[in-house]
Symmetry: C2
Subunit: 454 residues, 2 copies
C-alpha cells in the first residue's frame, strides 16, 4: 500500500499545474490536469488556484470536476474567490449554486455580492434556506452563523436498542456522541456512542450520558468559541439558544478554520493588509488597499518630521545629531514592538486583566530600563568615539534610556487601551507605537542636544 | 440545564484567581481556588497560571489537584513550564512524573533539563518507555514524535461481529474508524465504525473500508502534516513507517496544537521573541533574550547612520533633508513590509514556487510603482510648500518612487531567498528589509539632494 501524502502536497501540485499550463497541446493539458486534480482535496485545490496568476485561474478552474467546484470556491480566500466569481457567466453561476447548502452560502455571503447570494437562495431547498435565514439572525461574528446542523438528536427517554437502530438508519457523518434533548428541544446532555455498544439494549440513553459535557451559546463570539472547542477534548460542542434549545454543533473542523483565519488576520493586519488579500489581486486594486495604510503612516512620519523641524538650528550646528537620529528612533521602535507583541498575544489568549496589569507594566519597565542602560553604554561609547565628543555620547545615551523605557510603557499601554476601546491592537498598535517612539526619541535626542551641545 | 461556558472563560477565572490571592484568610482562599479549578480544563488552567506574576504561580499550582497537575504542566508554554519546574522539589517532581506517558514526556522533553527527563523515564512503564524511545528516533520536527498510540488496529480479515466485540471490550477514546492491518502490520485501510453498525455480522471489515483514505509518513514535517490533517475531513490520519507499517495516528487535537504553535511562532518571531516567551519571565532573563534582537537591529541602524554620515556636508547646507529623512525611510519600510507579509504568508501556505515567482515580482513592482508615483506627488507637494522649494519637492518625490519600488522588489526577494537558505523568513525578513529600505531611502534622498540642491 502506497502512502498517498506525496500527491497531496499543494506546492508540488502547483508546480505541476504551472508546467502543464505552458503546454501547447490543449488535450494533454486537460488530461494531465484532471489527473492531478483527482489526488487533491478541495482545500489543496483552492491553495493551488490562489497561487496562479489571475489570467490562468479561469482556465484551471474550468478543468475542476463540476461537483467539486463549489467546495473549492468555498475553501478559497475571500478576495481570490470574489475575483474568480467575477469571471464566471450567469449560467456558470446558476449551475455552481444548484445544490448549495446553508453553511456554504454563509461562508460565501461574506465576500460575494448580494445579487449572487439572492440567486443562490432562490435555488436552495426549503430546509437549507431556513437554516440560512436563522444563521443571518445572529450577530456577524457569533457562533450562530457557523452552526453545523448535521446532528443526531434523540429524546433523552430513548432506549439503547432504539438509539442504535436510529444510528444505523441515519448514519450521520460523525459518530462520537448522541445529543439528548427533552420534550421542548432543550439540550439534556450527550452520550458517547461507544458506550451504547457495550450497554444493555433496554437501558435508557440518559443513564449513560457524559458528566459535565461543555456547551456553547449561539451568541458567543466565534473565535472564543473556536478556542473552547480546541481546548476541549471533544470533536464538537453543542450550540444552544439562550433558552437552552439545541440548535446544532460547532465542530473541530470549523473551529480550526476560524482559528487559522484569526491567526492570518493578525499577521496580515500588522502590515495593514486585509486578512484575505489575494497574492495576485489586480495591480490597481492592490495599490488602492495598500495606499490607505501608507497614507496613515505618512501622517505619522510627517508628525515625526515636524518635531525634527523644531530643532533645525541645532542640527545645522551639530550635524552628528542628524546622522545618529535613526539609531535612537530604531532602538525605541524595536524595544517597543517586542513588548507590544508579547502583550498582543496575551490579549488574544485572554491572559491580561486588571489583576495583572500593574505587575506586567512594572516588569516591562524593568526590562526596558535594563536594556536601555546596556545599549545606552554601547551606543554612547560608539558615538563618542565616532564623532570624538564625550558630550555627544552622553546625550545619545540619555536619549536611548528615555526612549527604550517610554517604548516599554507604550508597548503595554497602547494595546491594552486599544483593546478596551474594542479596536484590534494587532491592526493599529504598531503604527501608534512607532509614532510615539519616533517622536519621543527625536525630541529627547535633539532636545538634549540643544541644551548640552549648542 | 445551564450552559457551562461562562465558567470556562480563562480571563474571568484569572481575575477571580487574582482576587482570591489577595485574600488574607488562607482557608477560604484554598477552598475558593479549588472551586474555580473544578470548572477549568487543563488548558484553561495553564493559561491562567501563565497570566500570574511569577511569585504567585507556585502557590496557585499547589492548589491544583495532583492528578491534574501533569496535564496542566504539559499544556503550559515552554518558558513558563521551565520556570515553574525550577521551583518544585525533587519529591514533588517524583510524584508529578509518577504516571507520565510517552506523549506527555515528549512534549516536556523540548524544554525540560535532561536530568528531569531521565528521572521521568525511570518512573515510566515499559510500553510507554518503548514509545518514547521510538519517538526520539525520528527527526526533531517530524510527525514520528507526535504519534498517538491509542489506536484500535484489527486484522483486515476480521468479521464485523468480532470487530464490534473488540470495540466493546477495548472502548477506545475515539470511535470514528477501525484501522485495518495485514499480517506484517502494514496498514491496509480504514473502516468507519458507523458502517459496522449497519453491516451484516459475518461480513469482512475490509469489504467496508473507505476509499482513498489518506495517510502520513512518520518522517513528514510535523507542521505540514498538521495542515494535512486540518485540510482532510477526518479527525485523525494514520501514520506509517517507510515500509507502510502502521505506527499510530496524528489526531486533530494534536494538529491544532501544532498549528497554533506555528502561528504564535510567526507572530513572536517577527519581533525577535521566542515562540514560548513567558509573560512574566524574570527581568534579567527577558532582558537578555531581547538584547540579542536589539543588538542585531543596532548594527543595521548604525549602517544606516553611516550612509547618512556620507552626506554630512549636504545636510549642513540643506537642513530640510535631515528633517524629511524619516518620511522617505518610513514609506519604503511600510510598503516593503506589506509585500513581505504577503509573501511570508504565501511561503507558509506553500503557494510560492519557481512557477509563479516572476509573475509575483512583476505584480508587486507594478503595485509599488503605482503607489510610489501617487505618494511621491503628495509628499513632493507638501515638501515643496513646507520648505518653499520646488527642487526639494522633486528630490523627495524621486527618492520616494525609487525607495517604494526597491521595497517591493526586496519584499519579494528577501523572504524567498531566506526560505531557499532554510532560514525562517518570518524571523529575519523584516530586519533585513528595513535595513535595505533605510539605506536605499537615505542614499537616494541625500544623494539626489547633493546633486541637485547643493
Amino acid at each position: 500500500m502506497q502512502p498517498a501524502q506525496d500527491e497531496l502536497d499543494p506546492t508540488r501540485a502547483i508546480a505541476e499545474l504551472a508546467s502543464h499550463l505552458d503546454d501547447e497541446d490543449a488535450t494533454t493539458n486537460a488530461r494531465a490536469l484532471a489527473e492531478i486534480f483527482q489526488n487533491l482535496e478541495p482545500d489543496d485545490l483552492a491553495l493551488a488556484l490562489e497561487s496562479l496568476p489571475l489570467e490562468k485561474r479561469l482556465a484551471v478552474w474550468q478543468q475542476i470536476p463540476q461537483d467539486e467546484q463549489l467546495d473549492v470556491l468555498v475553501a478559497m480566500r475571500g478576495e481570490a474567490r470574489l475575483l474568480l466569481l467575477r469571471q464566471l457567466s450567469q449560467e456558470e453561476l446558476h449551475e455552481l449554486f444548484d445544490e448549495i447548502d446553508s453553511e456554504d452560502l454563509i461562508e460565501l455571503a461574506e465576500t460575494v455580492p448580494d445579487a449572487v447570494v439572492d440567486m443562490a437562495l432562490g435555488r436552495m431547498d426549503e430546509q437549507q434556506r431556513k437554516y440560512f435565514e436563522m444563521a443571518q439572525q445572529f450577530p456577524e461574528e457569533s457562533v450562530g452563523r457557523w452552526l453545523n446542523h448535521d446532528i443526531l438528536m434523540v429524546s433523552q427517554n430513548t432506549r439503547v436498542a432504539d438509539a442504535l437502530r436510529m444510528l444505523r438508519r441515519e448514519a450521520p457523518d460523525y459518530t462520537e456522541v448522541l445529543y439528548l434533548v427533552d420534550r421542548t428541544g432543550r439540550w439534556a446532555g450527550c452520550t458517547r456512542i461507544n458506550r451504547l455498544l457495550s450497554a444493555q439494549p433496554h437501558q435508557n440513553v440518559a443513564e449513560l450520558k457524559e458528566e459535565d459535557y461543555p456547551s456553547l451559546l449561539a451568541d458567543d463570539d466565534m473565535y472564543e468559541a473556536a478556542e473552547e472547542v480546541e481546548r476541549s477534548s471533544y470533536i464538537a460542542l453543542p450550540v444552544l439558544s439562550k433558552d437552552g434549545v439545541l440548535l446544532g454543533r460547532l465542530d473541530v473542523g470549523t473551529a480550526m478554520d476560524l482559528l487559522r483565519e484569526q491567526a492570518e488576520n493578525q499577521l496580515m493586519a500588522s502590515a495593514g493588509l486585509a486578512e484575505d488579500a489575494d497574492l495576485f489581486a489586480p495591480v490597481k486594486r492592490s495599490a488602492q488597499t495598500r495606499a490607505v495604510w501608507l497614507g496613515i503612516n505618512l501622517i505619522t512620519a510627517f508628525m515625526a518630521s515636524w518635531f525634527i523641524g523644531l530643532f533645525e538650528a541645532t542640527i545645522q550646528e551639530v550635524v552628528a545629531l542628524a546622522v545618529l537620529m535613526p539609531v535612537v528612533a530604531s532602538m525605541g521602535g524595536i524595544a517597543g514592538s517586542q513588548t507590544l507583541t508579547l502583550i498582543v498575544r496575551g490579549l488574544a489568549l485572554g491572559q491580561i486583566s486588571a489583576a495583572n496589569f500593574n505587575a506586567l507594566l512594572l516588569k516591562e519597565l524593568r526590562v526596558g530600563a535594563l536594556n536601555g542602560v546596556l545599549w545606552a553604554l554601547v551606543i554612547g561609547i560608539v558615538a563618542a568615539v565616532w564623532f570624538d565628543s564625550v558630550l555627544l555620547g552622553l546625550v545619545i545615551g540619555a536619549a536611548i534610556v528615555a526612549n527604550i523605557c517610554a517604548a516599554a510603557a507604550s508597548g503595554v499601554l497602547i494595546p491594552v487601551v486599544l483593546d478596551k476601546l474594542k479596536l484590534d491592537p494587532a491592526l493599529s498598535g504598531s503604527v501608534i507605537l512607532t509614532t510615539v517612539t519616533d517622536v519621543i526619541g527625536f525630541v529627547a535626542f535633539l532636545g538634549l542636544g540643544t541644551l548640552i551641545l549648542v
